[in-house]
Symmetry: C3
Subunit: 100 residues, 3 copies
């Protein structure tokens, strides 16, 4: 079975950012996303449980180009102002055409 490499971008953010983040990653090229509710503590020492609504863990599978755009956007707009974490991995998927 032919597997195709794509980038999995995972974003951990405060819950109130969900709608905005979803709109922005779609604008940057993401065709889909998965969200799970999360909590935790970041390098700033802030526990998510202290924020209303907790954290979200947002995943999206995209092309390397779209992953780069999403990370650059997060680095510019979010990292200076919000306790946002983002990381990228290479994953293999069966049907690459479902993604960007």
């Amino acid at each position: 079975m032919a597997l195709v490499a794509r980038k999995l971008v995972t974003i951990i953010a405060e819950g109130f950012l969900e709608e905005r983040l979803v709109r922005e990653i779609k604008r940057l090229g993401a065709k889909g996303y998965t969200i799970t509710e999360a909590r935790g503590e970041g390098s700033r020492g802030v526990r998510a449980s202290e924020w209303e609504g907790g954290n979200i863990r947002l995943e999206t599978i995209v092309s390397p180009e779209v992953a780069e755009k999403i990370l650059a956007h997060l680095a510019e707009i979010y990292f200076p102002n919000y306790a946002v974490i983002a990381y990228v991995e290479t994953v293999e998927v069966v049907r690459g055409d479902k993604y960007t």
Copy 2:
């Protein structure tokens, strides 16, 4: 400490498929799995919140052979009919014998 490479298969699917998917991945060789509740939107534009029960995010750590079988099974049975996403990564585990 000796680390062993295994495959982490992640499946995002509608919640009502959980019991069936768990039974099938075990039949194909998975010894364990982890499920988190999820929601999201796929390339078909369907939000999980519109489905009763939301989505699940199912993870299982298996051998490359079992990962291949699981993906082939999903591609044959699920991808044509359901909004299922699946991706594979290589991970390192401490004790390989806990997995297939």
Copy 3:
């Protein structure tokens, strides 16, 4: 944009271990962590739903050295006594200084 490689350590454990695990990974060098509620079944055939409080899925992004310490600690203290799963992957992050 410059990306930096770090290790993503994921630990699946019984929920009652959360506070202790968080304290220990921080002592070993983790600066932050993310937790999602999980359930599942391991190689011992025990379903998480049979445990009070279910499972947790704990993620932390650390240096290779800290990842090694965390895995060695888990292997020594937890694996013989608890149904704990742990795996490591290499991920790319934007700002390496947020992590160890």
